[in-house]
Amino acid sequence: MNEERRTIVRVVGVTKSFTMGKVEVMALKGVDLEIFEGEYISIMGPSGSGKSTLFNMIGGLDKPTEGKVFIDEVDISQLDAYELAWLRNRKIGYIFQTFNLIPVMSALENVTLPMTFAGMNADDAQDKGIELLKLVGLGERFQHKPLELSGGQQQRVAVARSLANDPAIILADEPTGNLDLSTGEEIIELMQMLSEERGVTIISATHDYKMLNVSDRVIWVRDGVVDRVERREELDISVGGIGEKLTGTKRNGSPEPTGERG
């Protein structure tokens, strides 16, 4: 991790307030973040702390009340509709807690849709879609509709879809939130593999302590502010390997020995 690090996401003084009737809810109260290319970041925090709101800001799905989000040093509030669509299409892949596949399309069609938007021709898109579905372990099921697939399988399709246009960033909002333990673990492994083999930057909001083991850094959010940011080495000490205790697995390819704690 000592190579020169390029900042891919920079969040500067972002606040977000929602007005519900007369009450104003401050979901984010001033967040500053810097995320480097190729990092695996987990955003952790209690329910209602603002993780999803932050996720939407970083992904350009919603606009901050104040402050700025830079992706590749480009202020995304300055983008017009076309550029924003381009960003969502090519630069970022999204994974949601509720999978959000298009129910009337087959797994393959779901995966190839972003490629179609990107102007790829149908045959190439088909080939690439099948290849991606194989990568996530769904090689034979590409003709199935989402409702004919299990939750875990749907989330795999969503992972494949997020990779459609080789994005630099994958944003995931509680990707394991609707999955059981072992299925969730499989998705986490998949994301870890993407991070290591493809060098994709992964930013994942989560409640899931299993995610800690694979994260390079963990950003703890509380009440709309960043409580603390911990690198994994620090995390091992301060949390005492809580993730490992929970899951009983070690991080594959981890550079430092993880089994020495008591």
């Binding site: 596949l101 298009i102 994005p167």
Partner: protein, 230 residues
Amino acid sequence: MTKQAAGAGKSKGRIDRLITLSFAKSVEISFKSLQVRFFRSMITVSSLVLAVSFLAFVLVNLDVAGGLLVHGGRDAATALSAAGYDVDLADGAVSMSAKERWIVILSLLVCTVGIVNAQLMSVTERFSEIGVMKCLGALDSMILRLFLLEAAMQGLLGASIGAVLGGLISLLTGAVRFGLAAWADLPWAGMLGSVGMATLAGCLLSLLGVLYPALVAARMEPINAIRAEH
């Protein structure tokens, strides 16, 4: 830990990498969308069939009456007056009675409301799908185009079935009321015009019905569209 340079996206220029959706592909997606929701789209289509067949029925009735009048002279005129038409023998023109005209206008209004309602529902039940598409990079204009295409296809199908149906029923009732003489002097050009006009009106109704909800859906922030599901 080896991490290669990240995704290919960043290295290439922006100019040639615009978001597109070809017309053929749009038609394909819209068509599949209708196919998958066959039942719902058939309900929309059938409300169109009803509205348009009624309109065609009324228009072709007038054509048939006009034909009778031209060839049947005074006898025909009395028969038509008895049947409730406003006959102007001097001009050789037949029109609906005022009462009938009101009924036609009211029925068309009711059908329009029905079509708008059907299209509104078909758009709102797909908010989350639209949100997902926007997250994947779809432009507002693409969403709008998909819905307009769907509506146009539904309109074309429903309106042409309706127009033909309405025309046929009108011919049959004409024969029943005035005897086979009604078929002897049919003004074919006028009838084709009436059927064509009814079809066109149906297509326009369908497009008009979908325009507002589709505009709302297309302009929605993706995150709100996705949230709408829960």
